[in-house]
Each structure stands twice: as C-alpha cells, then as structure tokens.
C-alpha cells in the first residue's frame, strides 16, 4: 500500500457514507507516513460515527503497516465558524439533487483510480450510515431543496 492508495481508500469509504463532506489530508508532525484526516461540515450527530470509521481504518489497515491516520472531524457549526472557505462546496452540493451528488461521487472515484477498492464491492454495504441519521439528512436535504 502506498500513501496515495491509503488516501484513496479513506476518501472512498467516507464518501460512500457522506458524498458531500469535504475531506482533506495533512501531515502529522511533518511525518510523510502519518496523515491527519480532516473532515469538514459533518452533521453534528454524525461526528462520532465519522471519527470511529477513521479509527477503524487506522486499526484495520494501518496498524500492521508503516502508516497511521488520525481523525480531525469538524461538525457544521465548527466548520462555519472556523473554516468558512470549506462550507460553501458541501452546502452547494447538499442543495443539489441526488443525481448531482452521485456525479460528484463518480468524479471523485475517477480522479483517484479506485478500481481495486470498488471492485471489492464492500464499500456501500460496510459503510452505510445508520438509517435513522440518513433519514434525518434526507429530510434536511428536502428542506434545503425547497
């Protein structure tokens, strides 16, 4: 596994559950093999879930390798207050239709050459976000669209 493959895997997994959040990577202490996974604009109720998923990847993928990833997950309020430049993209996407959101996901996949990860076919099932929160997100999306 390379560092780029690790980034791709993390991005794909998180986007499978949250196609619209902004994901960025940063080095921890200038260590080229230790990534901070910064996720912005996460619904407050979902921040722990996102953090846990990043820790799961670290545990399952990194623990026996030379890599490590550390979660840096921000809810919507924190993103709006401290990282306003990262608010606009995901809000615009949330306001758009499901079709556009799917296109965004497809573009992200194409950009990162994820054939291997996607062929495994596990992304959607393993990373489905709990239905109760998905329903809440859909309701919010409908309200925003209206």
């Amino acid at each position: 596994m390379t560092i780029d493959e690790l980034k791709t895997y993390v991005r794909t997994m998180l986007n499978a559950a949250f196609p619209t959040v902004t994901i960025q990577f940063e080095l921890v202490g200038d260590d080229p093999f230790h990534l901070g996974v910064a996720v912005y604009g996460v619904e407050s109720i979902a921040t722990k879930w996102v953090k846990d998923k990043i820790l799961d990847i670290d545990e399952k993928l990194c623990a026996n390798s030379a890599f490590a990833i550390t979660p840096l997950v921000r809810d919507e309020a924190t993103t709006e207050k401290y990282y306003p430049e990262l608010v606009a993209p995901w809000k615009q996407i949330i306001a758009a239709s499901h079709g556009i959101a799917s296109q965004v996901r497809a573009v992200a996949v194409d950009n990162y050459d994820l054939a291997t990860v996607l062929q495994a076919g596990a992304v959607e099932g393993e990373w489905e976000y709990p239905k109760s929160v998905c329903a809440s997100a859909e309701n919010q999306e409908l309200a925003l669209a209206a």
């Binding site: 093999f33 230790h34 901070g36 670290d58 623990a63």
Partner: protein
C-alpha cells in the same frame, strides 16, 4: 533501568489534570497527551526502539509501540490516536478541544501511561 520518563510523565499528567480543573482545556489536552507520550517514549527507550534523541515521526511510532503490545494494544492505539487528535486541535487548530471528549479519554489515557511505565520496570511515582 526503569522508565526514564516516569517522574516527568507523572508531573506532566498532574499539570494536565490541573489545567482541566481550571478550565484550560487546550493546555490540558496538550499536557495529558504528552504525559502518555513520555511514558511510551520511556518504555521505547527501555526496549531499545527509541533513543533520547529520537524526534522524527515520533507520534506514529508511539501509536505503533502502543498498538504492538498485544492484548489491549489495539484498543490502546485507538485511544492514544483519539488523544493525539485532541492534542492536534489544541496546538494547531483555531477551535477549542471538546472538554467532554477529553474527559472521556482520561481513564484510558492514564491506563496507557501507567501500563508503559510498569512494563519498563515500575517507578516510584506514576
């Protein structure tokens, strides 16, 4: 040779707890993380996998060492990683550390710290 950082780790831990009691949650996150880190580094020096001068990639190495202990190692790596996340927010990010998140990690953080001091041969003060 016992854990060379045991006294320093205990002092740093006490600083962290004091900061938390006074409401200085960012300083508390920094001190509490480093209290654990010092214990792990002392353990690594004891085992010969780090030296006093080691400064490159040390946080990843700390995760690797904690996670590689078997048994509770996987759980400890996860908890140390969560604590590192809070320390990064405390030191480098504009937002404040979430007090509740830090408080929820205290028990595990102290367990990791004491575990790595005891593994290296105990100490007068942990």
């Amino acid at each position: 040779m016992p854990n060379i950082f045991s006294d320093k780790s205990a002092a740093t831990w006490a600083e962290g707890k004091e900061c938390l009691e006074r409401g200085h949650v960012n300083s508390a996150a920094n001190r509490i993380y480093y209290a654990v880190f010092q214990a792990v580094k002392g353990f690594a020096i004891h085992r010969g996998t780090m030296t006093l001068d080691t400064s490159d990639n040390v946080h990843r190495k700390a995760l690797e060492i904690v996670g590689g202990e078997g048994g509770k190692g996987v759980y400890f790596r996860r908890k140390l990683n969560e604590l590192l996340s809070l320390r990064m927010v405390a030191d480098y990010k504009p937002e404040d550390v979430d007090r509740k998140e830090l408080e929820e990690l205290l028990k595990d953080a102290d367990s990791i710290r004491k575990h790595h001091i005891q593994l290296a041969g105990g100490a007068k003060r942990i």
